[in-house]
Symmetry: C2
Subunit: 162 residues, 2 copies
């Protein structure tokens, strides 16, 4: 394995799909999901459900439209995730009025978040393990820059507040 960013796979053979950023991002996303699932299996939670719980921990009482923007996921997916979390007893929906939700973590969700505080950094470490300290910082900085500056190109842009 050389250290030029190409593995033995692409040393001898030119195989284009591997070189497209979109393709590599898809594969890294697959890897991240696999790692999250293997570490969180016993707690029966997915990466998106965890993101939603973190958002509600940060902003208790918000409605789904606000949650959509915090976790940067579309309305449909958010609707689905909230339903699942309510079914699991992790989220409580005290309706603000007949049309607007008001979402809170349940007691068991707060306990779960305590556990995940330990596990989440482990997951991050496994993902970034192939990189050394300075490479990790560089990657995270560039990744965040791409996400934030391309935010509006996403179908579900991130936003704070209203």
């Amino acid at each position: 394995m050389t250290d030029d960013g190409h593995s033995e796979y692409s040393q001898d053979v030119k195989f284009e799909p591997l070189e497209h950023p979109g393709h590599l991002v898809r594969r890294l996303h697959q890897i991240c999901v696999s790692i999250f699932l293997s570490k969180s299996k016993e707690f029966d939670i997915t990466h998106l459900q965890y993101a939603a719980l973190q958002a509600l921990e940060y902003s208790p009482g918000i409605d789904q439209a606000r949650l959509v923007k915090l976790i940067a996921t579309d309305r449909q997916t958010t609707s689905y995730v909230v339903r699942k979390l309510v079914e699991k007893g992790l989220v409580v929906n005290k309706m603000k009025n007949k049309k607007t939700s008001s979402l809170y973590l349940s007691g068991s969700a707060r306990a779960l978040m305590k556990i995940m505080e330990e596990i989440a950094p482990e997951i991050d470490d496994v993902i970034l393990k192939p990189l050394n300290k300075s490479e990790r910082a560089a990657f995270m900085q560039l990744l965040a820059k791409l996400v934030h500056k391309n935010n509006e190109l996403s179908r579900a842009p991130f936003a704070l507040g209203q």
Copy 2:
């Protein structure tokens, strides 16, 4: 917007999910898919279908099990993608025997690939636009390193050959 990798979003407020690599990768993947779809809409093709076509262009005549490894996607997804591509008339399956497929690009697929040769680099450019030349190189190098070194952690690892 500062240039330290954090946007205005995270300057004032500490919002943890944004800092997890897995979360940012999920969002970048969303963005990549959105960009691909907007550029390829008129050709009725998805990013994964395009990857499969590229693999078959590179290795005509392979079966699905080989295609699985080239595009680093699981058997189920590959089965689905191949069925769709055959239905669209982009892929021809000359069965090797009663159980093993042998996949080839159709004539219209080869024409489509000519067009995509122009479009694919444009898609890459839009994705990486927020970064300057040296940042792009650094990001791609680190991204490739993460994907290749974490390859075996994926449920659908990449592999060449048998």
